[in-house]
């Protein structure tokens, strides 16, 4: 089975703190898990990671084979094996053809409004969090720590904003820059909270 290695972007070298795209948190969102068409490409694995692209897709394919081999014909499996890149869009289409036979994962993961007719989202929910966790461990800080950092930074910067306003005024460009930055952080935080609630 030939598998093309995943793109090797150097996520690990991003020391600047800027969030590189695609954001790993997208892998964790239940909204994307339950959608039949996922527009978020999976983040690439860096070259210096222990996990080479082939081993990741090899592992996931291997897991997937174990789960579904008893239910499906060889033809559907050949179709899967022949496809080289492990992209969520392709993966979803593949899984949608397999029908409702894969019954696993919690029902809580699915949102009622976005529940697809096929059982494809369940298999994604089983796959993607494991992969997201694994990639995250290689490249990024754990999410709880990131959340703590952002919450704390938000509190500090909000107090700093009051000092800026009293010191240099509301109309100063530094005050406005800080305000925009805080709003961006708040939006990111709300998005994350919204996703975790649903």
């Amino acid at each position: 089975m030939e598998e093309k290695p995943l793109k090797a972007k150097s996520l690990g070298r991003h020391v600047s703190g800027k969030s590189s795209e695609p954001d790993i948190r997208n892998l964790w969102t239940t909204a994307t898990l339950s959608q039949p068409k996922l527009n978020v490409p999976l983040p690439s694995v860096p070259e210096d990671s222990e996990l080479k692209g082939s081993s990741i897709s090899g592992k996931t394919h291997g897991w997937y084979k174990q789960k579904a081999a008893s239910h499906y014909s060889d033809s559907s499996w050949k179709e899967m094996d022949d496809k080289d890149s492990f992209k969520p869009e392709q993966d979803v289409h593949r899984r949608s053809s397999l029908g409702n036979h894969i019954e696993e994962g919690d029902d809580d993961i699915r949102t009622k409004a976005e529940k697809p007719s096929s059982g494809s989202s369940l298999s994604i929910s089983k796959h993607t969090p494991h992969r997201a966790y694994w990639v995250e461990q290689q490249n990024r800080l754990p999410l709880p720590l990131t959340e703590l950092m952002e919450n704390e930074a938000l509190e500090i910067l909000t107090k700093a904003l009051w000092s800026y306003r009293s010191g240099i005024g509301r109309d100063h460009f530094l005050t406005k820059q800080l305000q925009r930055y805080i709003e961006r952080l708040q939006r990111r935080q709300n998005k994350r909270l919204h996703v975790s609630v649903h």
Binding site: G17, L141, M149, E152, I156, L157, A160
Partner: protein, 217 residues
């Protein structure tokens, strides 16, 4: 000086031998620094720095200003990541009671921080000013000025300071050793007293069983 419990810095830790952060901790710190770097200059200005320290420690305004002036060694009015990293190491050393080890391991940078005027020597006033950060006790200060001022100019140059850190480290290790020995002795005493308490119970038990057996027909 104490770190606020549950703050981000509170979760970091220094390596006990070298008193430095691990690579993973540094990565986390870099990301944290960049979150606070609002204006994208890889620096924190005095206001951001003040609010950061005010949020994560119990330092007062005057002390925070003193720390800022100490770290702003280029007099740019801003703190870069190098200075931020140094400060975090100092804070963590204080928090985890590694002050003496930290000063011993990093005597040169600490000396340069204390030498605010760049005179290549420091006096008692320098130590008093930064006592809240480095926690050098009064007795230690007296020892330093009395026993290590070899040149006799009532100021300490780097070599004299280094000797002082070696001496403090030796004393610290002796204290730790004495503590460990005390703990071991206390543990041994406990064990012995437990054994002594248990042995009468055992003998009672034997007597009890004998008396019970006498009722068994």
């Amino acid at each position: 000086m104490k770190l606020k419990k549950g703050s981000f810095l509170w979760y970091l830790y220094l390596d006990k031998l070298y008193c430095l952060l691990s690579v993973r901790n540094v990565k986390a710190l870099v990301d944290y620094f960049h979150l606070l770097d609002v204006h994208r200059k890889n620096t924190l200005n005095d206001i951001l720095f003040y609010h950061f320290l005010n949020h994560v420690t119990d330092l007062k305004r005057k002390q925070i200003t003193t720390v800022f002036n100490m770290l702003d060694w280029n007099a740019e009015g801003e703190i870069g990541f190098d200075q931020f990293y140094m400060l975090v190491c100092i804070l963590l050393a204080q928090e985890n009671h590694l002050g003496e080890q930290f000063i011993f391991r990093h005597s040169r940078p600490v000396f340069e921080l204390l030498d605010v005027n760049g005179e290549l020597k420091i006096g008692p006033a320098n130590f008093h000013t930064y006592n809240f950060l480095f926690n050098i006790r009064k007795q230690q200060l007296r020892e330093l000025c009395r026993n290590f001022d070899i040149s006799g100019d009532r100021h300490i140059n780097y070599k004299e300071f280094k000797l002082f850190t070696i001496f403090s480290m030796d004393k610290y290790q002796e204290r730790q050793k004495a503590k460990r020995e005390k703990k071991e002795k206390a543990l041994i005493k406990k064990k012995v007293s437990r054994q002594v308490n248990e042995s009468p119970r055992v003998s009672h038990g034997i007597n009890g069983s004998e008396s019970l057996s006498s009722y068994n027909f």
